[in-house]
Amino acid sequence: MMQYKPLLIVAALALAGCTATQDVKRTQEPAAAAFQLPAYEKVTLDNGLTVFLMQQKEVPLITVNAVVRAGAVNDTSAGISALTAEGLMLGSAGKSKRDIENQVDFLGASLSAEAGKEGSYISAKFMAKDLDTMLPLFADVLLRPDFDATEFDKLKQREVGGLIQAKESPRAVVGNYFGKLVYGEHPYGNASGGNSESVAALTQQQVRAFYKGFYQPNNTSISVVGDFDVADMKTHLSRTFGAWRSDAAPQQQSLKQGLPVLEKSRVLLVDKPDAMETTFLIGGMGISEDNPDAVGLTVVNTILGGRFTSWLNDELRVNAGLTYGARSGFASYRDSGLFQISTFTKTDTTEAAIDLALKTYARLWEQGIDQATLDSAKAYVKGQFPPKFETSGQLAGLLSDMYLYGFDNSYINDFERKVDSLTLEETQRLINTYFPKDKLQFVLIGNAAKVAPIAAKYGEVTQVNIKDVGFGG
């Protein structure tokens, strides 16, 4: 669907630190009570299905999310997890794709499925009064997909078209190139969605086999959040999902094996001859989801590139006017993760922007963080935390992540305490331990004729054309 967004000034960027000596006054002390996750129940059914229930009564809506531990990292053929997830919507239990869409839309509801790096997500949102229609429909889609042959071929064509079209927007694909550059042949390098050639070759049989292998109750959690009676909902869920049976243990390989060791700086130059600007990422290895220092790193990254007044945005945007936005962040997976700095600039200022980004990044080691900046970043991450868990959809997503990554509510309930306890000395340890200092990896998407001469300055260059199938490597 076309989402037309008005021009946002401040981009969805966000954090910043004043390294200047100005003393930022705290006019208000933060509220005393730490933000706590609303009460919820976790139940495991006899068949191994994990169920989360959380009541939220503000609006008469219910969100139901299922997450299956299967994603691009499990792709035996590139794109199969994505095509399997989207294939769930092609008809089930004898109802056609069209029947399901008509029924869902008529209730004003939504029902969708997609796969990411490590999970496949099926999500429904509907009015509480429509539970008796929507929950069985959700179960049909998840448990009884038909993978209708005609619809499957149509979906495949649309996916291939979408993968080709995505290359028209550097912003939409730069992350896939970066993942491939860093992880190479390791499963974490697999782009969610695959590539236009691999998807075109996928068969119905492959998708059925992938479904059978992974979509099992002992490999799935269902989170229900919204306006319902908990005891009633438990009965509903047991009745609806209790008879679902596991065929076999899903084949999950350990992804801790074979992780890359980055031995030198490399540059992947992706040529888009008509580009007006260069879109680029710089970074390296990050942290896995279960890293105990994740909260502290959120605070440090806030200062570097996580808010509007962050060092990167302040230098590249505010001081230099080189870009509309510059940021940095950690993308964490179950057993590994990435760190990346991202921005874009007009072709002629590519070198200036990369150099300034690197120079700004080096401040982590050269200057470190001062107390006023740390205090500000702490207040900021605490203040911006509760709105991340406001809607039933956000809360259901959090519960799904708890299942997928194996953390519990202490992540939320201890968040403020962990932020508060971060000291200046500790930030230095975090910087020295986790932020990649050298052997940086670069992806530049832009006009190679103009950018190639400077790319070699940053590492060993590989050049591909943006229209080449896949994401380099």
Binding site: Y4, A12, V24, E58, V104, G161, P170, Y324
Partner: protein, 443 residues
């Protein structure tokens, strides 16, 4: 305890969910107007320990003229770049140190500033906003670096979005008199050209309390908001109201076309637009429902006839709220191998079909359910609440109009939808933009 919003939902009144028995009263929303004309609305909601402040200013690209196109949006950037008490950079630094974040956006009609903060930061936010409203200090160096930022914003939008390219061209064709003709971000040469004095005048003219609507939603109390508003906003003097936009776009007397050649486009994109009345017009609700019947969900007419039939990868409508008569857009991205002409003809066929045959009662009921669901989604967050209230206040003349919406939507019949399709979605009123790698051939 979260307050339930069933009252407001009833007010929207697209449908009556059985569990909603509360009668609605305007008392759910508190509002007051300061002596300087600034209207402030408050919605108390303690569901999370946060609050927001949305400031809607009645200035957008419709208030511009050639030579200063894009200045409303540029000005939005300048509002973050220093004032008397909080100099350059200090607005953001102060807000973030208090746990707050902000953003802003500019449209054809409005400039909207959004502050999100822990409820404890309320006074800091009032102080920051009052300072930049009353005492903006436009710094010449900041203006120069901000030109680079906005030029980057403009080019990155065009670089990454064919929709942005199409819309910019299409508006230029559809409007030849009204300021809706140019993109909100402005022409590139204008971004490079306006002067410090242009900006100073702009602030004085449009950033007056009598030209604003403020909404605060979240974990706040009315009494506290009132006292802070009196302390910080009330002393800011009112200004003479800005000049009204009086240009009326002349009646379009035949189809207009534009073509964008983009060799790297993987498939053609088509956008078309029809002139429609302002949001305040009685046909607004019927057009809004028509847009939904065309494009909301996979059962919609455009999805079924274009995406499901493998003609398009996407097909959608866009119908923005607007102070002056504006456009009703349709848009499609071709599937591989599909020609622009086939996309265009199918979009036209779908609009003509509704004009000729109307829509079904079931489609009408469906779209009303979708609208109700949209409303509930908006009301799940304090941001959605602030935005909805502000929007009603501005585009319908008063947030009280929220309480007329039930009737307005329920009054729309299938005959009304057919009538608006016949009235507006016709060839003589249409402008078409095609973006493609293939040059259109001379016949």
């Amino acid at each position: 305890m979260k307050r339930t919003l069933s009252a407001l939902a009833l007010a929207m009144g697209l449908a009556m969910a059985p569990m909603m028995s509360q009668a609605t009263t305007a008392a759910d929303i508190k509002s007051f107007t300061l002596d300087n004309g600034m209207k402030i609305m408050v919605l108390e909601d303690a569901s999370i320990p946060n609050a927001n402040m949305y400031l809607f200013w009645k200035v957008g690209s419709r208030n511009e003229a050639p030579g200063i196109t894009g200045i409303s949006h540029f000005f939005e950037h300048m509002m973050f770049n220093g004032s008397k008490k909080y100099g350059p950079k200090m607005f953001d630094r102060t807000m973030e140190a208090a746990g707050g974040a902000n953003n802003a956006y500019t449209t054809e009609n409005l400039t909207v500033y959004t502050d999100w903060f822990p409820a404890s930061g309320l006074e800091t936010i009032f102080d920051l906003e009052a300072d930049r409203i009353a005492n903006l200090d436009i710094n010449a160096d900041m203006v120069e670096s901000e030109r680079g930022v906005v030029t980057s914003e403009r080019s990155t939008g065009l670089e990454n979005s064919n929709i942005r390219v199409l819309m910019e061209e299409l508006k230029g064709v559809a409007f030849r008199a009204h300021p809706y003709s140019w993109p909100v971000i402005g022409h590139e040469s204008d971004i490079a050209a306006w002067t410090l004095n242009d900006l100073v005048q702009y602030h004085k003219t449009y950033y007056a309390p009598n030209n604003a609507v403020v909404v605060i939603a979240g974990d706040v109390k009315l009494a506290e908001v009132k006292s802070l508003a009196n302390k910080y906003f009330a002393p800011i003097p009112a200004q003479a109201p800005p000049r009204e936009v009086k240009t009326v776009e002349p009646l379009q007397k035949g189809e207009r076309r534009t073509f964008i050649h983009k060799p790297s486009a993987s498939t053609p994109n088509v956008m078309m637009a029809y002139h429609v009345p302002a949001t305040s017009h009685e046909d607004y609700y019927a057009l809004e429902l028509l847009a939904g019947i065309l494009s909301a969900g996979n059962s919609s007419r455009l999805y079924q006839s274009m995406v499901d039939s493998q003609l398009a990868l996407e097909a959608d409508t866009y119908f923005p709220m607007s102070f002056d008569p504006n456009l009703f857009y349709l848009y499609a991205v071709g599937a591989p191998g599909v020609k622009a002409d086939a996309l265009e003809q199918e979009l036209i066929a779908q609009t003509n079909r509704i004009a000729a045959e109307g829509v079904t009662e079931q489609e009408l009921e469906k779209i009303k359910n979708i609208k109700l669901m949209d409303f509930y989604r908006a009301m799940e967050t304090i941001n959605g609440k602030a935005n909805t209230l502000g929007t009603y206040e501005l585009f319908f003349g008063s947030f009280d109009k929220l309480f007329n919406a039930p009737e307005a939507y329920n009054k729309v019949s299938t005959a009304d939808i057919q009538r608006v399709a016949q009235t507006y979605l016709k060839r003589a009123n249409r402008s078409v933009a095609v973006l493609s790698a293939e040059e259109e051939m001379d016949k």
